[in-house]
Amino acid sequence: MDFYVYIPDEAKSDEPDDKVQVSQWFYKLEDVIQKETDLVEICTDKAVYIVTAPVSGRLKEILVQEGEYFSPTNPMCIIDTDLY
């Protein structure tokens, strides 16, 4: 099953024009990810956050590349959880 990963509420500012930047992915495409391990580093206006994986699975698609800004309403990646 495809699991879409969004920015956690704990890193959001609730500003309508908030833009967040992906600064680093800790996994590559097709890597097997363990839940609660470091998944991606994001940069907001306030600070840099390390987001941990909400589920275990295979990193199926990276939707925001390193250096890209994205809206917090959009997902950052898709994890295929069928492995588990």
Binding site: Q21, S23, D38, C43, A47, Y49, I50, T52, G67
Partner: protein
């Protein structure tokens, strides 16, 4: 659609906050949202809230989410606050039970619109917590109550274990980043007044760095806080919550924070919790347990 850029936002390597994905974090988040419980963690966009909520701790924000003052560093909503909610204490009690808190940290928005600044309401919440859970410790991070000694005494009459009030910044920057109704001198007086009413209570304060202060000004602030009876002081890096607040002037290094803590211990016998990630109530239970008031 995402915007491609090679520009990276500039933060030093020590400004990193890890957001866990634990069952505890999700439980706390859901409980707070479902029960309409305000926390300063969320209102002030605290970057530690992922860590603290996963440890099942939070700082409750009393008297609503709208502050009657407009400090330019703070992301708490400003405007005309709503009347105090008499049922607020019941929600807080329920949350303390749910989170199984051993140590309760309460704070408040400044309520210049209320005759007593909200002191009676705060005291009632603390009294109710103490009545229901006599063994739990309570820390109140209070406003300045416009310097009203009676209001401070009202809060202290509810027997909190720690009375805290933040000077927020060094003296010179107060007029630049705090609301015009605030003053450094008044904040020191609030702390001194609280100590004079209860010699055994732990008095605590905190301030931010990275807003343009000098090292000498930081040391002077620590000296001032020690003189008025503070036992614990927190120093943390100011982080601009959103683009609408005042920008960061500089990022203070972990070594410099360490220097402030050592200096205060050596010269003032003062417990200073200092670090980039430190906020007013960061690990408050630990520091209260390891500090004496009188």
């Amino acid at each position: 659609m995402n915007t491609k850029t090679t520009d990276k936002l500039q933060f030093p390597e020590w400004i990193r906050f890890r957001i866990p994905n634990t069952k505890e974090l999700n439980e706390v988040y859901n409980f707070l949202s479902k029960n309409n419980i305000s926390t300063v963690c969320k209102s002030a966009l605290c970057p530690n809230r992922g860590e603290c909520w996963s440890r099942r701790t939070a700082t409750f924000l009393l008297l609503g989410e709208i502050c009657s003052r407009a400090c330019v560093f703070c992301s708490v909503s400003k405007g005309r606050p709503l009347p105090p909610d008499p049922l607020e204490k019941d929600r807080i009690i329920e949350c303390i039970e749910f989170m199984n808190l051993r140590y309760v940290v309460l704070t408040m928005v400044t309520r210049d619109d209320l005759r007593d600044g909200g002191a009676k309401h705060i005291a009632e919440v603390i009294k109710e917590i103490k009545r229901k859970f006599p063994k739990k410790k309570v820390e109140i991070l209070a406003s300045d109550f416009q310097g009203d000694k009676h209001a401070i005494q009202t809060v202290l009459s509810s027997n909190p274990d720690v009375f805290s009030h933040n000077v927020e910044v060094v003296n010179r920057l107060c007029s630049k980043v705090r609301d015009t109704k605030c003053s450094y001198e008044r904040s020191l007086n609030v702390l001194e007044t609280a100590k004079s009413f209860d010699a055994h209570i732990i008095i605590k304060s905190g301030f931010m760095v990275g807003l343009g202060e000098t090292q000498e000004e930081v040391l002077q602030t620590l000296t001032d806080l020690s003189k008025v009876g503070c036992s614990i002081v927190t120093i943390g890096q100011y982080l601009q919550p959103t683009k609408r607040q005042v920008p960061v002037s500089r990022f203070v290094s972990p070594n410099e924070f360490e220097f402030y803590a050592h200096w205060a211990k050596e010269h003032l016998s003062l417990t200073v919790i200092a670090g980039p990630e430190v906020r007013s109530s960061y690990h408050a239970d630990f520091w209260c347990d390891n500090t004496k008031g009188g």
